[in-house]
């Protein structure tokens, strides 16, 4: 099952010196935080804020190239989460055929925002995200975090 997600914003994570893209499923209010690098974050924020840079940035070039090749972005899907790495797919329509291209979510989101294509997340990713987050939280727990049972 696919859930349509909206980009709610970008946060800076000072501990990892990285940025977090917040995706949200408006229907079920599921949140999907995705950590991205600085240049990917700026590619996303330029599109969110509709800033047209003086020279085309890499994802603007990506869009221009797709336009020139007469290919249309149908949708982007965050498909999987493995060992803290998200996987995404970009679905293209070219002629009468559909092509699926493997991508990082940061590129998929940056392209989706520029081509006004919808962003989806698989139900599995949303589910795994919750459980992985819980696991990470559990891993970071120290013995002293647990309450001492009364003797």
């Amino acid at each position: 099952m696919l859930n349509q997600m909206n980009v709610r914003g970008l946060l800076f994570d000072p501990y990892n010196n990285a940025y977090i893209v917040i995706l949200r499923d408006e229907q079920h209010s599921d949140m999907l935080p995705i950590w991205v690098g600085k240049s990917e974050a700026s590619a996303i924020s330029f599109a969110l804020e509709k800033i047209a840079p003086p020279r085309p940035m890499t994802h603007d070039l990506m869009k221009t190239l797709l336009d020139n090749m007469d290919a249309k972005v149908i949708s982007t899907v965050i498909t999987d989460l493995k060992e803290n790495t998200y996987f995404a797919k970009i679905h293209l329509l070219f002629g009468d055929s559909e092509f699926t291209v493997d991508s990082r979510p940061s590129d998929a989101i940056a392209v989706a925002l520029r081509t006004e294509a919808p962003i989806f997340a698989s139900g599995e990713v949303l589910h795994k995200q919750n459980s992985e987050e819980l696991e990470r939280w559990l891993e970071n727990l120290k013995p002293e975090d647990f309450g001492k049972p009364d003797a």
Partner: protein, 156 residues
């Protein structure tokens, strides 16, 4: 746009990291090693070019790998890139794409163009006008300063 026969083919000689700023320098040279064209690029673009030069395959596709992936899925090839112009210290370049004899040209920053050219192994050209206007002396001064400091110069 100059004709192909007046264009000068260049090779990527290496990518230098400018330790003082958040930029990297792509050094292009001609086949006789007589001309040098340094182009300042952002960290992400410089890193992308270096990874491709060193044949490093990252675990997940970088943005330029994704562009190559689009082209190969759709059957387009990158025939050549041309660094066409320099205006107010900004270089301009054009990508030449082809499919079934149909050629398309797309405006791009040289950093993206070079990152794609090294991945697609397509030739890189520069117009004679750009070589005339380049800031080669700046690079020599910059390099001599760097040598004195003994900083390392990563090369391809």
């Amino acid at each position: 746009m100059a004709e192909t026969n007046t264009l000068i083919p260049l090779k990527v000689h290496g990518v230098l990291v400018d330790p003082n700023t958040d930029t990297q320098i792509v050094v292009l040279r001609d086949e006789q090693n007589s001309e040098v064209l340094p182009i300042w690029v952002g960290t992400a673009e410089g890193t992308s070019i270096r990874l491709a030069l060193e044949n490093v395959i990252p675990p997940r596709p970088m943005s330029h790998d994704l562009i190559c992936s689009f082209a190969s899925h759709l059957g387009f090839s990158l025939n050549k890139i041309v660094i066409t112009e320099v205006k107010n210290n900004t270089y301009f370049s054009t990508l030449f794409l082809a499919k079934d004899g149909l050629e398309k040209s797309v405006d791009s920053r040289p950093s993206d163009a070079i990152a794609l050219a090294v991945r697609c192994q397509c030739p890189i050209y520069v117009t004679p006008e750009v070589l005339e206007q380049r800031g080669g002396e700046d690079l020599d001064t910059w390099l001599s300063k760097l040598d004195q400091k003994g900083s390392e110069q990563p090369e391809a």
